[in-house]
């Protein structure tokens, strides 16, 4: 399956109308499987590990120039296939290029190998590989529902003993106060009484249009509420439109307006 002699000129795939005539040298898989394959990498470190493993190289002895070349081929390919290329891949490409260039520079004699420009990369690769392995080990552990099945017996009086928690309004308010304080919204976004009535009306409107998908605009304004009610309802509708929760639709000029759930 590792065919070094795949002719370069025969188009392998068409991407955005352009013929792709060659794949990275080490990659010989059917184009349709390619995308799936490339998406299986969990990031640049994972891709690098794959490239290193494939060649049976010790992590401590990475041939930077070669690995960089291969890495770039994959990155180019991902770009061509329009895979969403995480920025991390490009950051790694830059890091590889930098290491490569630093390794080309003559090193002062007294400088020891702690400053091998590859050291940091090697450390990261090892670290990542370690947890990649740990994840596989974790997956292999027995799991409830897959390998472990708890044994249960029924206790007949179970249901009647279940009680619902009691809550006081004060508790509810304390909880709200705490969460708002935590969110540091206490002073900036005070929930005022009027806002609340609008919010309440928003819920009401939503629940009235949810069943059918539509509701006549005028039906949302209860006559008995008077001016105040119209204002609240109107504000609530505006809020809902603003939050794209509803749309106002009018089939024809001067026709009835409907409120539609989006």
């Amino acid at each position: 399956m590792h065919d070094e002699h795949t002719p370069d000129l025969e188009p392998i795939a068409k991407i955005r109308g352009e013929e792709i005539t060659h794949l990275p040298r080490d990659l010989y898989i059917p184009p349709q499987a390619l995308e799936v394959f490339l998406e299986t990498f969990e990031g640049p470190l994972d891709l690098l590990l794959y490239l290193i493993k494939k060649q049976n190289i010790d992590i401590l002895d990475i041939p930077i120039a070669e690995i960089t070349r291969q890495y770039m081929e994959y990155v180019e390919l991902m770009k061509e296939l329009q895979l969403e290329l995480a920025a991390e891949y490009l950051v790694m490409a830059a890091m590889l290029a930098e290491i490569k260039s630093r390794m080309l520079l003559p090193r002062p004699v007294e400088e020891d190998d702690e400053h091998d420009p590859r050291a940091e990369l090697i450390r990261r690769l090892q670290e990542y590989e370690r947890y990649k392995q740990a994840a596989e080990d974790l997956e292999a552990l027995p799991q409830v529902g897959r390998d472990i099945f708890p044994a249960e017996a029924v206790a007949i009086q179970r249901e009647q003993a279940r009680r619902q928690p009691e809550v006081s309004l004060a508790e509810l308010l304390t909880a709200l106060k705490q969460v708002m304080q935590r969110a540091e919204m206490y002073t900036h976004h005070q929930i005022r009484k009027d806002a609340l009535s609008v919010r309440a009306r928003m819920s009401e409107i939503m629940s009235r249009i949810d069943s059918s998908g539509y509701r006549r605009f005028t039906e949302l304004f209860p006559r008995h509420e008077g001016r105040q009610g119209v204002v609240v309802t109107f504000l609530a509708l505006l809020e809902l439109v603003k939050a794209s929760l509803v749309e106002l639709v009018q089939a024809e000029p001067y026709g009835p307006i409907h409120v539609k759930a989006v």
């Binding site: 304390t174 009535s197 309440a200 819920s203 929760l245």
Partner: protein, 198 residues
């Protein structure tokens, strides 16, 4: 297969099923373990004997066989569920408070304000209690449900409408709340002031 192995496989299945298993179901699940129903019946009988003197027993009920706690001990077991009146966790209370005050609201928005995720169990338990319900879906990817409080919620807290919930600006501390609630109870609506102290 040894007889003993058949026995423990049937035992394991009955314990793991979480519901009664009928002869038919067992036979269907274990075609390579039991030959026929009469063999199965014999195994079940043997299992029943094996659990004599245990805290649990294998009984046949309407839809099949199940292990259950022996009656004399169910009284002890009942303690598992009557420990003390259950209380809602802080997460549940905060979720409920946010739904009440910021409705309609998605779970994601609650999570954003709370800064932590809201477990499905919290939402489910509030829905089961019929304190909250889904009133629509936000038109963003995933179409998350929008939650609002229900009439039952108002009833429980003895409120006529959501407007009767005290505005947050008036909550200074617990004492204030207590006082306010007292007043509320004593003097009826109206009195709540607009005097926003910003």
């Amino acid at each position: 297969m040894q007889h003993e192995e058949r026995l423990v496989i049937v035992e394991a299945l009955l314990f793991a099923a979480g519901k009664p298993l009928s002869l038919e179901q067992l036979a269907r699940l274990l075609p390579d373990v039991v030959q026929d129903k009469s063999q199965l019946r014999a195994l079940l009988e043997q299992l029943q004997q094996r659990y004599e003197g245990h805290g649990i027993e294998l009984v046949e009920v309407g839809s099949g066989y199940r292990f259950q706690v022996r009656q004399p001990y169910s009284h002890w077991v009942g303690r598992l569920w009557e420990e003390k009146p259950p209380r809602y966790s802080r997460a549940t209370l905060e979720t409920l408070a946010l739904i009440a005050y910021r409705q309609p609201i998605t779970r994601g928005e609650i999570e954003e304000i709370r800064g932590v995720s809201v477990s499905s169990n919290i939402i489910k338990s509030l829905q089961e209690r019929e304190w909250i319900r889904v009133v629509g879906h936000r038109d963003v990817p995933g179409r998350p449900a929008l939650y609002a409080t229900t009439r039952q919620f108002l009833d429980y807290f003895n409120l006529k409408s959501l407007e009767q919930l005290p505005p947050l600006s008036e909550i200074r501390d617990l004492e204030d709340i207590a006082r306010e609630l007292e007043q509320h109870e004593a003097s009826a609506p109206a009195s709540r002031s607009e005097s926003d102290t910003a």
